[in-house]
């Protein structure tokens, strides 16, 4: 049962966080909080700006286009409040970074899921 729009939020297997609700995911991806609910520093990862998964992720999460998210981030970044998620080249790179960094958090299409990462939520 895999749909293109089934977007999973993943973290490192060693991350103590077991699940994140929609608000907690939004908090991290909108730069409101820079830490997981347990206080550990979080490093959100983004998919490429021109990718279907990024469009769907933000559409589902906050009902905004990639361009609108960019305008939102321009405000946060250039007023010194927070830095936008680091952009990775594709889902493989997202998974690799999540595997290798305990604080990383990313999102991938459910078809790309494997056992090396832990699912903590979904954007639907």
């Amino acid at each position: 049962m895999c749909f293109a729009a089934d977007v999973l939020v993943i973290v490192n297997q060693a991350n103590e966080v077991s699940s994140l609700d929609k608000k907690q995911i939004i908090d991290l991806y909108m730069g409101r909080y820079q830490n997981f609910p347990n206080g550990e520093a979080a490093f959100p990862l983004d998919q490429p700006p021109v990718s279907e998964i990024r469009t769907i992720f933000y559409q589902n999460l906050v009902n905004k286009s990639v361009a609108q998210m960019n305008a939102y981030w321009a405000k946060l970044l250039f007023t010194g409040r927070a830095s936008p998620p680091r952009v990775m080249t594709d889902s493989l790179a997202v998974k690799r970074a999540v595997r290798e960094n305990k604080g990383a958090i990313g999102y991938i299409d459910s078809v790309d899921l494997d056992k090396t990462v832990k699912v903590v939520g979904r954007a639907d």
Binding site: K23, I26, D27, M30, R32, Y33, Q34, N35, G39, A41, F43, L45, P49, V50, V62, N63, K64, S65, V66, A67, Q68, N70, A71, Y72, A74, K75, L77, F78, T79, G80, S83, R86, R96, A97, E100, N101, G103, A104
Partner: protein, 417 residues
């Protein structure tokens, strides 16, 4: 002292970059130590008439646009920002902005340079040069890509001639209902803000400048209130001959001249800002409104209330919008008592200065923002202004009388990288 702190922070951020520029080559390391980003606008604006020159705000009197001429200097700018991450808790940033200004020294080009430390995951203190969190857009007013319009509404943001201050701030964030509540307090000095007006070029300081803001936001709503106060300090060389005449007049038949001379003195007088704002952002609608009151102990700056409301509706990548704004003094400048005949020209000149600070203006704007690409937006905007009295938001060399209408046309290309 603040300048020293700022210098230390500036070099603390820049020097390690030069030394460690190629130290973050490991592609698997997602915690970049340094990140360079930027923003800019290529904009052309046409507006003004023979006497009133269009200016984006009081700090842009360097290149006013008269008589429906064109200018690329009012809106065009380029910003560069270097973010540094020393540890998970200690971060810093330096932002430089190149734009048309009277004093284009490196010192004035440094928009921000600060270090921030997270005391707890929800509490951050910063020190250095930072934006003044006065209104909804006062910290990002130069980042045109971050909002809908060609520029922040002139009626609201025009009288704010300062962008930054050197000092400290502290922010605390906590969850409330479905959103988050953010408190901020700040204090410091805002120095060397050059403004131009009827009395020539002045360098305006606010020292001290302090204030607080409370913001609540969730995914669609943002509500904020803020207040700030600053003590004015100014040096205006062009005013000196006038002050000399006033001294002479007070000794030769016009005693009232002495108190007018005191009224003209900016230094030591306080100014107060009170503001509230509300924004609703839920595709396809984008609605935003703010209201503020500025008061001052300086008699020549009359209390002014300003407000705007903007409504935008998204159609795919294009968002047309409508904007209505007004700025109005809550009292008028009043007339000076008549002077003895030999001092009548001086009295007239002073009355002219007083009147030039008057403000009673409304405007309606129509425009659209077209997100051509995720990092590139094009904006087209038409403003129609009704200007009564003074016209102090405009650049003027001579006094103006009566009502008039003016149109402003803007074409902007905004980008981020």
């Amino acid at each position: 002292m603040f300048f020293k702190i700022f210098r230390i922070i500036f070099f603390a951020n820049l020097l390690p970059l030069l030394i460690l520029a190629d130290a973050s080559a490991d592609s698997n390391d997602i915690t970049d130590r340094f990140k360079l980003s930027g923003f800019g606008t290529l904009g052309v604006v046409s507006g003004g008439d023979e006497e009133l020159g269009f200016q984006r705000d009081w700090s842009r009197g360097n290149s006013p646009v008269f008589d429906e001429d064109f200018s690329v200097k009012q809106d065009s700018l380029l910003g560069l920002q270097l973010d540094a991450r020393m540890t998970d808790n200690l971060k810093g940033a330096v932002q430089l902005i190149a734009r048309d200004r009277l004093d284009n020294s490196l010192g004035k080009s440094v928009e921000w340079a600060f270090l921030g430390y997270d005391l707890t995951p929800n509490t951050r203190v910063r020190a250095g040069r930072m934006g003044v969190d006065l209104f909804m857009l006062s910290e990002n007013r130069n980042v045109d890509f971050s909002y809908l319009w060609a520029r922040p509404p002139v009626e609201f943001y025009g009288p704010i001639a300062f962008d930054n201050f050197d000092g400290m701030d502290m922010t605390h964030i906590m969850p409330l209902w479905d959103g988050d509540l953010r408190f901020k307090v700040f204090g410091g000095v805002s120095k060397n803000n050059t403004i131009t007006g009827r009395t020539g070029e002045s360098s305006l300081d606010l020292k001290p400048l302090y204030g607080a803001s409370v913001i609540w936001e969730d995914n669609t709503w943002l509500a904020r209130i803020s207040l700030a106060s600053g003590e004015l300090d100014s040096s205006n060389v062009a005013l000196q001959p006038l002050l000399n005449y006033l001294t002479l007049a007070s000794q030769t038949g016009w005693p009232e001249a002495a108190s007018i001379s005191e009224d003209l003195e900016l230094s030591g007088k306080s100014t107060y800002y009170y503001a509230a704002g509300l924004a609703y952002d839920n595709a396809p609608w984008q609605v935003q409104s703010e209201v503020n009151l500025i008061e001052s102990e300086y008699d020549f700056f009359l209390p002014v209330i300003s407000a705007y409301v903007s409504v935008g509706h998204q159609f795919g990548p294009v968002t047309p919008y409508f904007l209505a704004a007004l700025a109005k003094n809550t009292e008028d400048s009043g007339s000076l008592n008549s002077a003895p005949s030999q001092w009548t020209p001086l009295q007239k000149e002073l009355q002219g200065i007083k009147d030039s600070y008057e403000l009673d203006q409304k405007s309606l704007s129509l425009g659209f923002r077209w997100d051509i690409h995720y990092d590139l937006a094009l904006k087209l905007q038409w403003d129609h202004h009704w200007v009564k009295q003074g016209g102090s938001l405009w650049y003027q060399q001579t006094g103006v009388e009566g009502e008039r209408t003016l149109d402003t046309f803007s074409l902007n290309l905004n980008f981020v990288f």
